[in-house]
Amino acid sequence: MHIAEGFLPPAHAVGWTIAAAPFVVHGARAVATEVRRNPESTLLLGAAGAFTFVLSAIKLPSVTGSSSHPTGTGAGAILFRPPVMALLGTVVLLFQALLLAHGGLTTLGANAFSMAVVGPWVGYGAYRLTRALTGNLLAAVFAGMALADLATYVTTSLQLALAFPDAETGFAGAAVKFLGVFALTQVPLAIGEGLLGVLLFRALISNARPELVRLGVLPAEPDDVLPDTPAPAGTSPAAPSTDDGDGAHR
């Protein structure tokens, strides 16, 4: 759910565009540098953008019976880092506005700020913190994806509260209203997205381990690589090896 076209007053639309711009420009620079250094990453980054778009099209079963769509930016932030997600998220929002009539052009800045900037950074922060504290990758993925989703909706609610303050209670009253309608109802869905993340990463660990190592999500472990690489010709498996990380130290 993004803020629809024409919903924000002009001053707010301009203000949020200015607020999101530095993050998106920073992301664009990061992407441009990466592509200059490594031309083939154009295709991988394009694939990441397409995956983020498609992930938001996966219907998530929800407890209340209706279904909802994940925001997908938490997974992107964990896999590709928040600066890149600031750009990819904005590209995805532009596509959603023009291909799905979801969001809008004048509200692109506000939506980019909540979904491509705040969501990924909060999610990535929660992921890194949980991983450092517990050492558990899947717990960190759950925290990262659930909080990225929730932070996006909290930001959207606050943006709406700023735009439409309550006549008597002002911003605080409006924040209570919008948080109640858009963020509180999102809590079960955020938990759902966190669970989806755990299942996604569990499947990736068993099916796409080399890619996760390349992206820096998993550390390169010699004993994980060994079974795939054939033994070099001439070395007998029985010969004692000196640099083997597996058996030599035990």
Binding site: G6, P10, E40, A50, L87, F95, L99, A101, F182, A203
Partner: protein, 248 residues
Amino acid sequence: MTGLAVDDAAWASAWRSRSPGDKALLSLGLVLCALLLPVWPGSVLVGLTAVALALGPARVPARTFGRAVRLPLAFVAVGALTSVVQLGGGPGWAPDAAQRAGALVGHALAGGAAVLLLATTTPMSDLLPALRRLRVPAAVVEVASVTYRLLFVLLESLHTIREAQTARMGHSTVRRSFRSSGVLAAAVLTRSWDRARRLQDGLAGRGMVDGLRVLPEVLPSSRRFLAATVTGLTAIVVVSLTVGGAAG
């Protein structure tokens, strides 16, 4: 066909051969009018113009256009209602609730229709090269173009895998549905990597050094279209300001 009805409409539209710049000027002009002019009669005029142009000369299917306009309605309705509920002194409606909610819905519907006029007449692959002229870095435009082209492949994979999962009772209970969705997301991600790698190998074999160069299709700008756009937008502004000013 592809699952994105708006994109299908854009390729089939009678305005497909018009210059993307011309259409962007018209559509963005209407978007700004919808946002900045008073809702009566500004937004009403913008909404009617956008719908009339899309269904008339651009020949966008009414079904597609109507369905796409309706999509954001849930958000617009909930958002507009929430903004006019008052909490101070027990919950109730703000004094000018109907008027304010109506104005919000009017702005949003008119703006949405104006964006859709561009979206249903111009494929993304025509719009992205135009971003280069707005000084968006070439690398970013290329990443966005690859994203657009891979979208359809991945959406098709998504539907196929989901269909297969459903046929195998993969979505019969909430628990199974969650598991299937996780596996589905992982499969789509690994497929996207696989596709990117294969594209890369194919392009490298054809001598790609830097950048994906494609021949841009030349879609010349029409002076009559531009003149009509400027005249129409001016008329909307003048009428809105005189009628809106007289009313207020």
